[in-house]
């Protein structure tokens, strides 16, 4: 696997994982409050 492909994969995975974790975290935090 080339470095460029690895960087591309990591960048895409990173964005997806951060957004998933942040949104699920926010939903879980807010559902406890209600």
């Amino acid at each position: 696997m080339s470095t460029a492909a690895m960087m591309f994969m990591m960048l895409s995975w990173g964005i997806i994982i951060i957004l998933s974790a942040l949104s699920i975290g926010t939903i879980m935090k807010n559902s406890k409050k209600r």
Binding site: M1, A4, A5, F8, S23, T26, I27
Partner: protein
Amino acid sequence: MRGGGQKVFIFWIITLAILWYITRKGVNKGLERLAKFAMPAIYIFALALLIRALTLGSPVNPDWTPIKGLGFLWSPRWNELSWSATLAAAGQIFFTLSLGMGIIQNYASYLKDEDDIVTSATATASLNEFAEVILAGTIVIPITFTFLGTEGLKSGVGLSFIALPNVFRTMAGGPLFGTLWFLLLFFAGITSSIAMFNYLTAFLEEEFGVERKKGSTFVFMMYVLGGLPIALEPVLTKTADLMYLTELDNWVGTYFLVLLGLIEVIVAIWLFKSKGLEEINKGSYWKIPKWFYKIVMSFITPAFIIILLVFSTINYVKNGYFKLIPDFALGTPKLIPWVIDARVVLIVVFVLSFILTYRSISQKLDKENGRK
């Protein structure tokens, strides 16, 4: 009918019957019951498969390793980028997020005023990408590459249904992992199908007072009628081209999704103007900033869809998709009736939906005007 065709037919009817049963019970209960079990199961199955995929080694060819498969997936090949590939990708993402087909509106109608739209939408899109890009991409591509090399990856739609079963047959623990994989696909498919089945039933129930049980039976029968050619074509013609499905997918699964998505954006953003932003942000923990709404949602998104549609239309014309008998069917004359059949179904469904929707909207407007 041959044995294989008969099996496909029987399982298709069983799946439709399951859908019918769940929708009869009302979407909330049915969906909740299924989602509570199926959604975590999908992720657990996928994680197990992902670990298996990455630990396959190189049983067929020393050059075919799972990591090289990932390398193939993530190395951009700019020379292969085309408008038809872009339209197919847009169609895929519209389809997978249920955009441009009325399902989001159906789900939105179940929301309360203070429900958080921004966070839910972000969670939906990002978790969907997590499942498709990270999990499915790391399962399907490495497994196929390990056993079949780059040639195996070119089988397109058949990848899941033709290449992978062969792979599962030969790999260690194949029956177990194959079962897990197809259960996963089944859950993913049936949850989407419920949404599509339900909004038709809900439409009949809410707009025309058709009782839910009767409505879902009617939708079930329409599904059987519309889907029957997909099951019959390979059996009757002894071919595997699936022309009826291909033609439906060319329009419903790709082109119209993007076209209807454009209409949705125009209605939601341009016609509602700043009221749209107010509605989106009401009750949301994260707020969409005004600049994002004005620049990205009002301008960049529709502009991108318009450019995509214009170039895709040119592409469709060039490839003869708009002709009475499309170019792709010319090579197999005996399959032309199946293409025509798909077009007739498309036109009937379009005209019927237009009349029903028009009637229901004008009834609503009459009621509102009467009240005033």
